[in-house]
Subunit: 140 residues, 4 copies
C-alpha cells in the first residue's frame, strides 16, 4: 500500500506553448496520469473499475501554478488521497522538478463514484473490497 | 452539394509550441474538423453515421508542411473527396492563411467504411443513399 | 464594451474520450479561447499585449463539472472579469449547451500581469490605457 | 550508437476518443517523443540543437493505421533514420503493442535542418560533429 505515490514523467515538446513553457491545461492531464498509476500501484486499475461497472468521473479540478516547467524537464507528481466519504473522494497533487525539487504546481481533483448509468453508488455495499482499499489510502 | 468546401478556423494559443508556431500534429486535427463540417454541409453527419451503424476509421494520413501558422492566424481548410471506391474514400486538404492566401499545409486522409464490429461494408448495397452522395461528391 | 461575453464553439471529435464525453482537461482550453475572444471584443488582443511587453500568465484554474458535453454539442462559454486589482485579475466562466441552456461547467482563472522577464508590473502606471479598460470591465 | 531504438510508452486515458481507441492524431505525437529519445540515446539533444542554433522542422508526416491501440496498452515505438542527405533526413517508425507484438501503425517523418532564421544549413560544414553522427545512424 502506497499512500504517497510519486509518478515521474518528462515534459514533451508538444506540451509547450509559444511562451516556451508547458501549457497550463497539460498539468490537468499529468494529474490524471498520476492518479491512474497511483491506483495501479495500489492494486486497482481503471480497467478493473470499468469491468466491474464502476465509473469515477471528475467533479472538480483545481490547479495553482507556481513555476513554469519547460521542455525536457522531468517532473515528480506526488499524489495522495486526502478525503474519502464512501460516495466521493479527493486527490491532492504536488508537481515538482525532479532535479531541483522546485514546486511547479499544486493540484486537487474531486471524484464521485457511479454506476454505468451515472447513478451514485454506495461503494461500501457494492464494492466492499475497493471500499477497504480507499479507506486505508486516505491520509490520516 | 458542395464538392469544394472551405472550413474556417482560428489558431488557438494552446495549439502553438515553443517554436512559436502551430505544432505539426494539430493540422491532423484541423483536417478532421474540416471533413466533419464538409459532411454536414453535404447533408451527412457523423451522428447519423453512428446511429446507422456506419463507422469510417482513418486508414492513413499525410501532411506536407509549407509555412508555419501562428497564434491568431485564421486558416482556410479547403476539403474535397478525391476518390471513392464504394469501400473506401480519400479526402484532400489545402490549408491556407485566410488573409494572405499563403499555403500552410497540404493534407490527405484515407478512410474505410465498416460496421460497428469493424467489418468492411458495401456502401452501395447497405447505404444506397450515402453511396449516391459520396459518388456525386467525388471530384470529376 | 462587453462585460459579459458569450463565446460559441462546437465540440470536436478529438476532444472526446473513451467515456464518449469531452475530456475534462479540454474545458480549460475552451476557457482560454473564450477569454482571448473576450479581450478582442473589448479592443485588446494578446498580440498587442505581447507587442507591448505585457505577459499575463495563469496563476490558478478551477473547474466544476456539472454535465458532460458530447461530440457535436455547441457550447456557450459566458466569460466575465470578476476582480481586478491592478496587479492581477480573475475571470469567471459559465459553460452551457447552446440548444438547451443546461449548465455543463463553471470555471475560474486567475492571472497576474508581468513584463517579459516575469516581474510583476503596475498596470495603472505602465499601461494606463489597459488599466482603464480592465477597471471598466470588472463587474459592479 | 543505437541505429534502431525502441521507445516505450503507455497509452493515456486522455489520448482515447469516443470510439474507445487512441485518436489518430496522437500517433504523430508518439513519433515525436520517440525521435527525441532516439536522439538522446545517440548523444544528441534538442536542447543542444537549440543552444547551437540548429532547428529541425518537420517537413512532412505520414502514418498508416493498422490496429487501434486502447487505454492501458503499452506501445513499442521503433524508430530509425532511413535517409540523410546533409540538408534533410527521414525517420521511419513501427508502433507495436509491447505485449503481443501486433503492428499498430507505421509512420514516417521528414525533416530539414535550418538555422534560427529558417534558412537551410549545410550540416557537414557548420556542424561536422552532428553530421558524422547522422551519417552513421543512417541504416545501411
Amino acid at each position: 500500500m502506497q499512500r504517497s505515490f510519486v509518478y515521474k514523467r518528462k515534459v514533451n515538446y508538444y506540451e509547450t506553448d509559444k511562451m516556451g513553457v508547458v501549457h497550463h491545461s497539460n498539468y490537468i492531464r499529468f494529474m490524471e496520469e498520476a492518479r491512474i498509476e497511483f491506483l495501479e500501484a495500489n492494486g486497482m486499475s481503471y480497467a478493473e473499475f470499468e469491468a466491474r461497472g464502476l465509473i469515477s468521473p471528475v467533479v472538480a479540478v483545481n490547479c495553482e501554478y507556481k513555476l513554469p516547467a519547460v521542455f525536457g524537464d522531468e517532473l515528480d507528481v506526488l499524489v495522495e488521497i486526502k478525503e474519502y466519504t464512501g460516495v466521493k473522494y479527493i486527490y491532492e497533487y504536488l508537481i515538482t522538478k525532479s532535479q531541483t525539487g522546485e514546486l511547479v504546481a499544486k493540484g486537487r481533483t474531486e471524484h464521485c463514484l457511479t454506476n454505468k448509468e451515472g447513478r451514485p453508488i454506495i461503494v461500501k455495499r457494492q464494492f466492499p473490497d475497493l471500499h477497504e482499499i480507499f479507506a486505508k489510502l486516505v491520509e490520516e
